[in-house]
């Protein structure tokens, strides 16, 4: 029903008049019957704004006036009787009695002449009995007639006035919601501006939230640290770090290359290269000569920090060195802070130092 809504806006000032007219309606009803002209004139004025040409038509005027008069008086009357007049569809009886019949004869009256002015009320009366069939033809005739413009206006006015109930409240809320949207729709440039602003805001806020979440998770804040909280991840990093430490820090003079290989596969970066060079320079020869065996056992290990690809652990390691030539053993505990990074799907030691 877009035309109607539009018409309401245009007839907004006109709409006010019928409201007043509506108040006068009872009196006018009588008037209308006698002399349609005054009512006519009033209505006309309203219409003028909307449909100038028709009004100027002098001969047509009375003819048109007749039905119109009936219609206008109608609407308010209907309103006075029952505000439903305007609502058409929800309350067919009223609107029917008010309009439908009128329109029918009015349409013809239109064609005929002034006398129609008098039949109208009659028609109206008869119309009441015709109730059921009324709603259907209504819109058609209305659309065709000039009445279209003034119709909704009084209708609304009456509705607002006499129906303070839900409907008007709902309507008001609906209007409050739809009006800005409708306004925007009417102004494409503003609509585009608003959409662009919304778009930019969405992208901006979205990006910010995403990046904030990413960096939070990466490290720093407590919830970026998955240590212990992520049970599976914690178990994995603990298990692999424990294994790496024990294999790298243990050595046996009969298979020194095992330790070298362990360091190569389970350590990384500068720690790996440093450890390997230290191993070759200070361990390999003495270990071979003295038939040394060292066993590193991780007694206890805890994760301090854990993210997807980096973790910090604290490990208590028991070093047991055994000189196999004389069976002499020495124990030395060590508390170490271990940095591990995930490379190729495995946690590798990247740094090892005493706490």
């Amino acid at each position: 029903m877009p035309p109607r809504t539009r018409s309401t806006t245009t007839t907004a000032p006109a709409g006010r008049r019928p409201k007043v007219a509506g108040l006068r309606a009872p009196g006018r009803r009588g008037v209308t019957g006698g002399s349609p002209t005054p009512a006519d004139a009033e209505v006309r004025e309203d219409q003028d704004t909307a449909d100038a040409p028709e009004v100027t038509e002098a001969p047509a005027a009375p003819a048109a006036a007749a039905p119109e008069a009936s219609r206008t008086s109608d609407a308010p009357t209907g309103a006075a009787e029952d505000d439903g007049a305007a609502t058409d569809s929800p309350e067919p009886p009223d609107s029917a009695d008010g309009d439908a019949p009128v329109e029918g004869p009015a349409g013809t009256a239109d064609a005929t002449e002034a006398p129609a002015a008098r039949p109208t009320p009659k028609a109206r009366r008869t119309g009441r009995t015709m109730t059921p069939s009324a709603p259907a033809p209504e819109p058609v005739t209305r659309r065709g007639g000039t009445a279209l413009l003034e119709r909704p206006a009084p209708a609304r006015a009456t509705r607002d006035r006499s129906e303070p109930a839900r409907e008007s409240r709902v309507a008001r809320i609906a209007a409050a919601v739809t009006r800005p949207v409708a306004k925007l729709g009417a102004n494409p440039r503003r609509l585009i501006t608003v959409l662009v602003v919304v778009l930019v805001l969405s992208l901006g806020l979205g990006t910010w939230a995403f990046l904030a979440a990413r960096s939070d998770r990466a490290d720093g804040t407590s919830y970026g640290n998955e240590a212990v909280v992520n049970v599976g991840g914690t178990a994995e990093v603990v298990g692999q770090t424990r294994q790496a430490m024990e294999q790298i820090l243990s050595y046996d003079f009969t298979k020194l290359d095992d330790s070298v290989n362990a360091a190569k596969s389970q350590a990384t970066g500068s720690f790996a290269s440093e450890y390997l060079s230290v191993f070759e320079q200070t361990i390999r020869q003495p270990a071979t000569d003295q038939k040394l065996r060292q066993t590193a056992t991780v007694l206890n290990i805890g994760v301090q920090q854990l993210s997807s690809d980096h973790a910090t652990l604290m490990a208590l390691v028991q070093f047991t060195a055994e000189r196999t030539t004389n069976g002499q053993t020495t124990n030395a505990p060590g508390l170490l802070t271990v940095q591990v990074v995930k490379e190729d799907g495995r946690w590798k030691i990247s740094e090892l130092k005493p706490v």
Binding site: V198, L205, S222, Y223, V229, L335, P354, V355
Partner: protein, 154 residues
């Protein structure tokens, strides 16, 4: 619309990250780690001027069964400390949880401390000590039910 949906999704992502259950657990874990460190410091710190207060601080860090054991020896402990004019000051060196059950309110931690000890007839010496602590969450926060020194480096 798509941008709006993306923004909402990112917002949810961020919100879950910073306010979700995992974040709460992470927060509880941090509280537990800090508590473990504080507990070990408390039970390893005694200054001659504040012996009673320090021992009281140590006691409030404990819960049973360690609490009752501690109460049994506390007086004797205090007397010997006063007599020796012993000073033991611990500072945290590192801590990490080795077990954590947020729901049951239990946690175990490995805590390293640097201890500076001295007494009337002993020069100040520094050493590192390591404690394994079992904790329980009480209405007053985390408390140690067991704390045992393990061999540390000197």
């Amino acid at each position: 619309m798509l941008a709006f949906a993306a923004a909402v999704a990112a917002g949810v992502y961020w919100w879950i990250g910073s306010h979700g259950p995992a974040a709460n657990q992470a927060h509880d874990r941090d509280v537990a780690v800090d508590a473990a460190e504080q507990i070990v410091v408390n039970i390893n710190t005694v200054r001659p001027q504040t012996v009673d207060a320090d021992l009281q601080a140590a006691q409030t860090s404990l819960t049973d069964p360690m609490l009752s054991e501690y109460q049994k020896v506390r007086q004797q402990f205090a007397d010997s400390l006063k007599k020796a004019q012993a000073s033991v000051v611990a500072t945290p060196a590192g801590a990490s949880l080795t077990a954590f059950d947020d729901d049951r309110g239990t946690a175990s931690a490995l805590v390293a401390i640097n201890v500076t000890a001295s007494s009337a007839n002993q020069q100040p010496s520094q050493k590192q000590q390591l404690f394994q602590v079992d904790m329980q969450r009480t209405p007053d926060g985390w408390k140690a039910s067991k704390a045992s020194p393990t061999a540390g480096q000197s």
